[in-house]
């Protein structure tokens, strides 16, 4: 106010024109700042009230609230901040936010750049851009539900695993008895890869039999009855069979009447870690190994029992954050592309033509001309996405399943979980909000500086 009147001091009687009741002052047009500060204030008021009520007051109240306990009555000083930083959940959230901050904007921008540059050259550019931009029209919530299904573990339900499994399975043949395993009492050791090796050694002339259980109904239903292998001089023999009788009536470890043979199993004789003989069980479950298997251990390779390949555990603890970032990129790459394409349209063609005339190849044109010319646009896109990513919530909330929600935690989600519900601490939630604000601040400052620099140009 004082500066305003100082400016107007050149005109005598200015001060008296300030009161609102002064009619004649309307006749003297003055500069906005120079005259009638109350009018300026009136015009500013709506914006100030809105900003104050919707931005400044909530920020101030969050800071204030973060100094109080769950009930909001007891002053606790900085205890909430201390609790926040000693909590593993918040540490994971900060770590994940950093991963998000680095990966999501850069990948989205890089993909957007590639799409924008490539679509310049193709005939159906608009159609292609439309398709890439389409996910932007889907709400984050809907996109989250879509990707929850895409990442579903079961290859019959999740597209990601359906593709992965079909690629994987075209290179392997299917095992005879997925899920089966020897009886725990049969004296075998399971290796980490899932192969079973007998503890006892093989002897020629004395059959070694191995009882298995848990063969699937379909796999065993057509099998013959198992036969005890006959001892053969100079040969190692034995039977592998399904040691199961309905109701558990059979004797465990003995080939009871009616128990089925397990045909087509691969068996190996292993001596000192080396395979000395190989065989496949016959239709009656028997196998025959050469004499040199004497003294070796019998091994059933893991392949026999391997369950159908189930694909990648996309939403497991280790991959959940990258998987969710993937869904984010799916949405925002289109946004990056559109902005970059607009910037690209403003890049003078002559520069590229000139570079080509000078003998630069396409990569060099892209690397040395296009990208530098696009730098301002690229930085706008990256910074916008960075601010956007800091507050990421919905995708994580929806896509991460409960058991790996901890591993996918981000600050906004942690804020929500500690603030809302029946048994919560809004003081702690406010402290996280303040932390989030402080973390966004540097990016905001960079952004504001950049805008100023550009407007000065």
């Amino acid at each position: 106010m004082s500066t305003a009147t100082a400016d107007g001091a050149a005109t005598p009687g200015r001060a008296s024109s300030a009161p609102p009741a002064n009619g004649p002052s309307a006749k003297k047009p003055k500069s906005v700042m120079g005259t009638r500060p109350w009018l300026a204030a009136v015009f500013l008021l709506p914006a100030l009230v809105l900003l104050g009520a919707l931005v400044v007051y909530p920020i101030g109240y969050s800071v204030y609230r973060s100094l109080f306990d769950a009930s909001g009555n007891g002053f606790v000083g900085l205890d909430n901040y201390q609790e926040m930083f000693s909590d593993d959940a918040t540490k994971t959230a900060i770590k994940n936010n950093i991963i998000w901050l680095i990966l999501a904007p850069t990948v989205s921008t890089a993909l957007g750049l590639i799409f924008a540059v490539l679509t310049e050259r193709i005939r159906w550019a608009t159609a292609f851009k439309l398709v890439v931009f389409m996910p932007m029209a889907i709400s984050m919530l809907a996109a989250g539900i879509i990707f929850r299904l895409v990442y579903e573990q079961d290859p019959d339900k999740g597209v990601a695993n359906a593709m992965w499994v079909s690629v994987h399975d075209s290179f392997s043949e299917s095992p005879p008895f997925p899920g089966a395993h020897p009886r725990p009492a049969a004296g075998t050791t399971e290796s980490s890869s899932g192969a079973y090796t007998t503890n006892a050694t093989l002897k020629a002339g004395s059959p070694t039999s191995l009882p298995l259980v848990a063969a699937k109904r379909d796999d065993i239903s057509d099998a013959q009855d198992a036969k005890a292998a006959k001892p053969e001089a100079g040969k190692v023999t034995g039977t592998v069979w399904f040691d199961f009788t309905r109701g558990g009536l059979g004797k465990e470890g003995a080939i009871d009447k009616g128990e089925k043979a397990m045909a087509g199993l691969k068996v190996e004789a292993v001596k000192d870690g080396k395979v000395v003989g190989r065989a496949t069980t016959a239709a009656d479950g028997t196998y025959t190994l050469p004499a040199k298997a004497e003294g070796a251990q019998l091994r059933l390779p893991a392949w026999n029992f391997s369950e159908p390949y189930n694909g990648i555990d996309w939403l497991g603890p280790s991959l959940v954050t990258p998987a969710i970032i993937g869904s984010y990129v799916w949405i925002w790459a289109g946004f990056a592309m559109v902005l970059i394409a607009a910037g690209l349209a403003g890049v003078p063609r002559e520069l590229m033509e000139a570079a080509r005339m000078d003998g630069a190849n396409e990569w060099q044109v892209f690397r040395r001309v296009t990208v530098p010319m696009l730098a301002p646009v690229l930085s706008v896109v990256v910074v916008t996405l960075m601010i956007n990513v800091m507050k990421i919530f919905d995708l994580v909330y929806i896509i991460a399943p409960d058991p790996s929600k901890d591993d996918a935690n981000v600050l906004a989600l942690q804020l929500y979980q500690s603030s809302f519900g029946t048994d919560v601490n809004q003081g702690l939630g406010s402290a996280i909000a303040v932390l989030l604000l402080l973390l966004v601040m540097p990016i905001m400052i960079i952004n504001i500086r950049r805008i100023r620099r550009e407007s000065r140009r």
Partner: protein, 452 residues
């Protein structure tokens, strides 16, 4: 259905809703049979109600859809007998929030049907709920065992009527898987493990565990703990008067590990179980009749709905047996909705009196999807053998049942995904050997949530 709902309450509500719907469908499907059973017969008239002509009454509950329809039938009968006009307002999942805002606005509904015992106590403590009057107390005393009466009381005063109950100590099995394996229904935990091993040996994984939803795991633990450590310890643990590092907890976890940690007993292995949401665990057991992925699945009576969703027939493809006894007695863990008056009017009290009578319970029981804790509701009122068996087990428990422990705990320990007990038991399912570590984790979270 693959996206698990964020809250336990809503999942259950949805599930229960489906249950009711499914049972309605099966009831309708039977067509001609309906006339032969007691279902559909007129309800008994055992209770004296005052004349309330011209009075208006508002009732709120979380129920929607078929459940709301069936409850409306009960309310209609009340209107017929008293002349009062009753309107039903669905509260949404957050009953505490809904009632809280209505009380703040000065116009609470007359009666609320509350799903968690903790919330009812909170209402009573804040003075929102009003104690039952003499006629309602008389009905309550006549029809409910002391355990249910106490559960509806706060500081010795009766406030609530447990109108709708659920029995959470049930195992459902695929009859074809049991038949193929020659397995029998087990009565004790060792028998259960033996039969589970037999089913597993026959080539079907024994038990489907819906480990992606933490609440199914807390229900497992509660059943084992209640049967093994006994009701007194159960109550102490529920109030956090004993620590989670107590040897009794260790024993219960080790007992659970006998099942969760043995190869072939948990469908899809432990990793697979953690990816299985509750509805999927039922589908695994009943989805494929010829070669199911699992032989048994555990959870409350609302499983009936998912069984129907999976395309299996209750009583025929799917049967149910009580949770086996780990200690001396088989456990009975329950949940339920309790009716409380929020205004001290004659009409509100009359409605609670009616809900406490066998008349009201019979009406909904006949419609299906409902278990009553009222011992004078005749078992013949239930529409099929499985529901009858579940109700019998609940009534037979007398006072020796316990309310879901995690529903009694503060929400941050017993009621929220990815934290507290839900998360700890998921970690335990991941690594059943880490008993001590899990106990420490449980105790740390419990101490924080109970603030002691």
């Amino acid at each position: 259905m693959h996206v698990s709902l964020p809250t336990k309450r809503s999942t259950r509500a949805a599930v229960a809703l489906l249950a009711a719907g499914a049972l309605m469908l099966t009831a309708a499907g039977c067509g001609g049979d309906d006339g032969d059973t007691v279902s559909g017969g007129p309800p008994p008239n055992t209770v004296q109600l005052p004349n309330l002509k011209g009075q208006k009454l508002q009732v709120t509950a979380v129920w929607t859809g078929t459940e709301q329809e069936n409850f409306t039938k009960v309310l209609k009968e009340f209107e017929k007998r008293t002349g009062a006009k009753v309107s039903f307002v669905p509260s949404g999942d957050d009953m505490a929030g809904f009632v809280g805002s209505k009380v703040a606005g000065g116009a609470p509904p007359d009666v609320a049907m509350v799903g968690q015992v903790g919330v009812m106590r909170e209402f009573a403590q804040k003075g929102w709920a009003k104690p039952l009057d003499a006629p309602a107390r008389a009905q309550l005393a006549k029809n409910f065992s002391k355990g249910w009466q106490d559960l509806g009381s706060y500081q010795g005063k009766p406030y609530g009527v447990y109108f709708k109950a659920s029995n959470k100590s049930l195992l459902w099995y695929n009859t074809s898987a049991f038949d193929y394996a020659g397995a029998k229904v087990p009565k004790t935990w060792p028998e259960f493990l033996k039969e589970a091993q037999l089913v597993s040996d026959s080539g079907t994984d024994a038990v489907a565990v819906g480990g992606q939803d933490g609440w199914t795991l807390t229900d497992w633990f509660e059943n084992v703990y209640l049967s093994q450590a006994g009701p007194e310890k159960y109550d102490q643990l529920a109030q956090h008067k004993i620590k989670w590092t107590d040897p009794s907890v260790k024993k219960a976890l080790e007992t659970l590990a006998e099942l969760w940690g043995t190869k072939g007993l948990v469908a899809g292995g432990r990793g697979g179980a953690l990816h299985t949401a509750f509805p999927d665990s039922v589908t695994k057991t009943f989805g494929d009749k010829a070669e199911p992925e699992a032989g048994m699945v555990f959870e409350a009576d609302f499983v009936a709905a998912n069984v129907a969703d999976a395309g299996a027939e209750l009583d025929q493809d799917a049967q149910v047996f009580p949770f086996p006894a780990v200690g001396a007695d088989a456990p009975v863990v329950t949940g339920g909705d309790v009716g409380v008056a929020l205004k001290n009017t004659k009409a509100a009290q009359a409605l609670l009196t009616f809900l406490a009578s066998p008349d009201a319970g019979t009406i909904w029981a006949q419609s299906g999807g409902f278990i009553s804790a009222n011992k004078n509701v005749k078992f013949s009122a239930y529409p099929n053998a499985s529901m009858r068996k579940i109700a019998q087990a609940l009534i037979a428990a007398g006072n020796d049942f316990r309310f879901d422990m995690s529903d009694q705990a503060p929400a941050s320990f017993g009621g929220k995904p990815a934290q507290g007990e839900w998360k700890a038991l998921q970690d335990f399912l991941k690594n059943p050997r880490n008993v001590d570590g899990i106990q420490r984790q449980l105790e740390r979270d419990a101490a924080k949530a109970y603030k002691n």
